[in-house]
């Protein structure tokens, strides 16, 4: 498995280089090379994930390696979807390095080791849905964060009347705003389904929908944060800069929920990020 893993990382890194090359040169051929590399990396990544799934017959998010790896996979997959819809080519420069980074960090930890075999985790439809939805939702929010950063850069270029490097390369504010909004909406929907399936699953296994587990609390807070963002957008028209900043803050919040809670606080999600 290790050679495939290294190969995946190399493909992601090369894709990052190609996307950077595209960003500087603005040559579409280079972009397509970058995209092809990313697709190749994604397929290898899929092979690794399937292998782990078949080997353990559990959804492969059972240790830190698997969690990080699956996050990367979800982000790249979600990028393909949004890129297809909005043609945001520059977003590759955000996705490919992010995926590379996640995989490089994951590579430092063992892939197949199962810390404290988790007897009370039954592998069923609810759990699988919960995991997939939460990860895809997070990936969509990660995209929203990247788009938010692009928005702030482009807005700054326009407001300060600097029509150089950034202005020429980033797409229009309107496109960034619309795409960011779509990412947040998709992420919110996925996260909502993820939280509901998670709590129904908790009821089945532990007999409680809600147990004030730190992960549950922080996830609910993140959910509320995004709910507020969407609500304000639809009622008073929070858009542009404000929405972009919110998307970035929301994602930082989410990162803490995802990793910080596991490392700093205790709870029944903790075992998934051990190694």
């Amino acid at each position: 498995m290790e050679p495939v893993l290294i190969f995946t990382i190399i493909l992601y890194l090369l894709s990052s280089v190609a996307h950077a090359g595209y960003f500087f040169s603005r040559k579409t051929e280079i972009y397509y090379i970058g995209l092809a590399l990313l697709i190749a990396g994604f397929l290898c990544h899929l092979v690794i994930t399937s292998y782990l799934f078949i080997a353990t017959l559990k959804f492969p998010v059972h240790n830190l390696f698997q969690t990080l790896s699956f996050t990367g996979l979800a982000i790249v997959g979600v990028f393909f979807l949004f890129n297809y819809k909005f043609k945001l080519k520059i977003l590759g420069l955000y996705t490919a390095p992010l995926a590379s980074l996640l995989m490089l960090v994951a590579y430092q930890f063992p892939a197949e080791h199962m810390p404290m075999a988790t007897q009370n985790i039954s592998n069923n439809f609810l759990l699988t849905t919960h995991i997939i939805m939460v990860f895809l939702g997070n990936a969509a929010f990660a995209m929203a964060c990247g788009i938010g950063i692009s928005y702030l850069l482009q807005e700054n270029a326009i407001k300060t009347k600097n029509h150089g490097f950034i202005f020429k390369r980033l797409p229009s504010l309107n496109l960034l705003d619309t795409a960011g909004q779509a990412c947040v909406m998709a992420g919110f929907t996925l996260l909502t389904i993820g939280l509901i399936t998670g709590s129904v699953y908790a009821k089945q296994v532990w007999g409680l929908f809600w147990s004030w587990d730190p992960k549950e609390v922080w996830s609910a807070l993140a959910w509320l944060f995004y709910a507020l963002l969407l609500h304000e957008r639809f009622t008073v028209g929070w858009r542009g800069r404000k929405a972009a900043i919110m998307s970035i803050i929301g994602f930082i919040f989410l990162l803490f929920t995802f990793f910080g809670v596991n490392f700093l606080l205790k709870g029944h999600h903790g075992q998934f990020t051990r190694w």
Partner: protein, 422 residues
């Protein structure tokens, strides 16, 4: 062998009065093409006439006579002041003529380097020439190369990418804010000339509604009528700001016409949809503090000029790269043109035949091992004789003077038929 020649005047060599005087209308171009093509000296001819230049591009086997005929023709038709006209003329021969037409089409020779219209104008000129059968093998090839080179310069250097006029800069900005300008509503405050120019560009981008607010309602109504817009009273500006997306202001008002407070309360009602102010008035009409509000963007005349200056510097750099692409293209065209000489074509043809014969002979003799040396030699002799006989007539024809005037056509066809250029 026909020489490529170019005679012309442009904005660099002649003042506008002279250019105006000698400019050709399409009808004049047509009759001139017809008259001059009838003379023996000019074999192929294309006339390009725009407000900045008049160019006669032609192929001839008697350059001096051809130049004389053209000059006389212009003198008779247009009667320009004689010495001034003569002094403003430039004449380019062969490679220099090719380079000149490449540069013109790529917009490197334009008054505004990188402007996109010239290529269309040359295409139009070529279209007229082909309709009048005045363009032949050489100019056809040259013009197709020209279009190719111009396109290459444009895409590879991006020389026309950035805006270099106020209204283009405004459009470019609008696109970076709104994505597309279609369906956007435009509010004109003040109906000046500059505003009109900007609106023309916006209309080309198919904006949906145009509102015109002017102090004197009648003038505003005139402009609104011209662009199928709606004239509104000056007092109504506030309520129309609510629905507009782009505001172009150019009044002579001494103070701000739109202030920050007004816009701030408005943005809530607009549900924060972006609002783009273009302020081309001096003194300014739009409070610059509005730029600090969320989702509003204010550009005044200096901001736009700043953008244009940047872009002009950028274009100068890109022009250097464009010249390099053209150098390359001139060399390639030169090679093709040279190949249209008779001797090289015949040699190339002969060489190709010899090579084929040699290869086939080798193959055949190899499989016929039982032949004696004399037999093999006989076969070789026969092959050679065969080739000579086959080549004899085409060679004689190409060398003869009887190619009905245009030898380059037959040379070109020969090269294509036998694929001599690959």
């Amino acid at each position: 062998m026909l020489e490529i020649m170019l005679l012309g005047i442009n904005h660099k060599t002649a003042p506008v009065a002279l250019r105006e005087c000698v400019a050709f209308t399409d009808d004049e171009t047509r009759t001139t093409l017809k008259n001059l093509s009838d003379t023996q000296a000019i074999n192929e001819l294309i006339i390009i006439s725009t407000c900045n230049r008049l160019e006669f591009l032609f192929a001839t086997d008697n350059p001096d006579l051809a130049l004389d005929i053209i000059k006389k023709h212009i003198a008779v038709l247009k009667q320009p002041p004689e010495t001034e006209f003569e002094n403003s003329l430039y004449i380019h021969k062969t490679d220099e003529a090719v380079r000149h037409i490449f540069r013109v089409a790529s917009s490197l020779d334009s008054m505004m380097v990188g402007e996109p219209q010239i290529l269309g104008q040359i295409k139009q000129a070529y279209h007229i020439a082909t309709n009048n059968n005045s363009s032949g093998v050489i100019l056809n090839r040259l013009l197709h190369r020209t279009f190719f080179v111009a396109k290459r310069v444009r895409t590879e250097t991006g020389i026309g990418d950035s805006a270099v006029s106020i209204s283009y800069a405004a459009i470019e900005l609008g696109r970076k804010i709104f994505g597309i300008l279609e369906d956007k509503k435009v509010l004109l405050i003040g109906a000046g000339e500059m505003a009109e120019l900007a609106v023309e560009h916006l209309i080309r981008n198919r904006v949906s509604n145009i509102f015109v607010a002017n102090r004197t309602f009648e003038r505003g109504a005139q402009l609104a009528k011209k662009y199928k817009g709606l004239a509104i009273r000056f007092e109504e500006i506030s309520s129309y700001l609510k629905t507009s997306d782009i505001v172009i202001s150019s009044t002579g008002s001494p103070g701000y016409v739109v202030n920050r407070k007004q816009v701030k309360s408005l943005m809530r009602k607009r549900r924060n949809r972006p609002l783009f102010f273009i302020d081309i008035a001096v003194p300014r009409d739009i409070d610059p503090a509005i730029n600090h509000l969320a989702n509003t963007y204010v550009y005044d005349i200096d901001d736009l000029s700043g953008v244009i200056d940047e872009n002009l510097k950028d274009r100068a750099k890109k022009a250097v790269k464009g010249e390099r692409i053209i150098d390359e293209a001139v060399i390639r065209f030169h090679k093709w043109h040279e190949s249209l000489k008779v001797v090289p074509t015949i040699i190339a043809l002969r060489k190709k035949m010899d090579e084929i014969a040699e290869a086939e002979l080798k193959k055949t003799l190899h499989s016929l091992g039982h032949l004696s040396k004399d037999d093999a030699r006989a076969i070789q002799r026969m092959t050679k004789a065969l080739l000579s006989k086959i080549m004899h007539d085409p060679t004689r024809y190409l060398k003869s003077e009887g190619c009905f005037g245009d030898k380059s056509l037959y040379l070109d066809i020969t090269r294509k038929l036998f694929n001599l250029d690959s």
